[in-house]
């Protein structure tokens, strides 16, 4: 993942370019169940960035929209995913204390994407492709490549917090 500034400080807006994998209500539980049972997934989690989101269809028509969903609903899985090597999370809103503590312990990052500006973010996506759980429709795990994607740094690797 590339960032527009070298130092990532909570409270600042940073533009990112790189790849996310999406996760949300239905998919996060299925993914974690596979991992906990020792199953393999087609994704290397170490250094990966998770985006709590579900895109609209229409990527191949260059008309997709994407944006964050409320992180608090998935925050219970953050500590485990950090243990699996995930480096950062993007979502919307504050996350509970135990997720904040786990992020601090790992030097992990939490970003907030701006809520509801699906078209704005959609135009900054260069690729969306489904990776796992396609039967979940929009809740599948997608790989999303982005360029110049503005995010608010909400928790930085020094434990700084901005909600």
């Amino acid at each position: 993942m590339k960032f527009s500034s070298e130092i990532l400080k909570a409270g600042e807006i940073v533009r990112v370019s790189g790849q996310f994998f999406t996760l949300r209500d239905n998919s996060v539980k299925k993914l974690v169940d596979i991992l906990k049972s020792g199953g393999k997934i087609p994704l290397d989690l170490s250094g990966a960035y998770a985006f709590f989101a579900a895109p609209t269809p229409g990527f191949s028509e260059s008309r997709a929209s994407i944006g964050p969903t409320t992180s608090a609903r998935m925050a219970g899985f953050i500590p485990y995913l950090l243990d699996c090597g995930v480096k950062g999370f993007v979502g919307k809103g504050a996350i509970p204390e135990d997720a904040v503590a786990a992020l601090s312990a790992h030097g992990g990052l939490y970003f907030q994407a701006l809520g509801g500006v699906g078209a704005y973010y959609g135009s900054r996506v260069s690729d969306i492709r489904p990776l796992m759980f396609e039967e979940l429709g929009p809740e599948a795990v997608f790989l999303v490549d982005v360029a110049d994607f503005p995010l608010v740094i909400s928790i930085d690797s020094d434990g700084g917090i901005f909600f």
Binding site: I13, D25, N26, A53, A54, P55, T56, P57, G58, E61, S62, R63, A64, S65, I66, G67, T69, T70, K92, G93, A94, L114, G115, G116, V117, G118, A119, Y120, Y121, G122, S123, L136, G137, P138, E139, P150, V152
Partner: protein
């Protein structure tokens, strides 16, 4: 008896739900920037504005959450229709076509526990009202899970009066924070019954009216300094507009409902 061609109803609903997700009249001329905003909030407000422009010009849905499809329908008693055994079937067909051809996200799951998504964004969630005459009036609203999840209703007591209702609106907004993507368009319903007051709050959003200016003024006064702004970040007030509807109610009741709508205010109407 006036007979409307079923195909016309389907295509009207299809066009309505596509239009509200890309270029809703409810956002026409709306600006989110405010003189009271600091520079951070102003930056966010500019992104909201750019989002509206990009949605229209690049034909991307305003928000990735295109909602469940909710319709408020007034059916004239002298109206009939062709093309299907029920009006409900025609409305559902229109919604299905909109969400498929309109490249909208299908966010409806069939069972609240099994959570299976059938990929059609059905069923449509329909409120029916019978009226005189022979028209068919259809309001459509696309409203995502974020703002629905922070809406609230409460059975207050009559003694609390307007002040108590305004307090409840304030409390709902304070609890919502940024979770429903403010600036909010707020629909307030007062009166009716436990089930009807929530629909009343939604109708306030659809009709964008104030049926009680005294309550409106009290609400606006109380929420002026909520302490957060655009998207829940530090600011002054996260509300763009407040609408109020009221209805008769029981001598022992003061039902109140607050329907919060996010900044992507997607409401439209078609009359056949």
């Amino acid at each position: 008896m006036r007979i409307v061609d079923g195909a016309e109803i389907v295509s009207a609903v299809r066009r309505l739900f596509i239009e509200i997700n890309y270029e809703p009249e409810s956002l026409c001329g709306v600006s989110f920037a405010d003189d009271s905003m600091g520079s951070f909030e102003r930056t966010l407000a500019a992104v909201l504005q750019e989002n509206i422009e990009k949605s229209a010009s690049e034909r991307r849905p305003l928000c990735q959450d295109c909602g469940v499809a909710q319709l408020f329908v007034k059916v004239g008693k002298n109206l009939s229709f062709s093309g299907a055994p029920s009006l409900e079937k025609l409305l559902n067909r229109g919604v299905e076509e909109a969400y498929s051809e309109g490249l909208l996200r299908k966010s409806t799951v069939i069972d609240p526990f099994e959570r299976k998504n059938e990929g059609k964004n059905l069923p449509a969630f329909i409120h029916w009202e019978l009226c005189d005459g022979d028209k068919l009036e259809i309001y459509g609203i696309a409203k995502g899970g974020g703002s629905e999840n922070v809406s609230a209703q409460k059975m207050l007591v009559p003694a609390v009066g307007r002040d108590g209702v305004a307090d409840f609106v304030f409390e709902t907004l304070r609890n919502a924070g940024g979770k429903g993507c403010p600036p909010y368009f707020v629909g307030v319903g007062v009166g009716g019954t436990f089930d009807s007051v929530a629909a009343l709050a939604k109708k306030a959003l659809l009709e964008q009216v104030s049926e009680d200016n005294e309550l409106l003024e009290m609400i606006n006064k109380k929420i002026r300094n909520l302490g957060f702004g655009v998207l829940g970040f530090p600011g002054i007030c996260p509300v763009k507009a407040v609408y109020v509807k009221k209805a008769p109610t029981h001598i022992a009741m003061m039902p109140a409902a607050v329907a919060l709508n996010c900044h992507s205010f997607r409401v439209g109407k078609v009359i056949l």
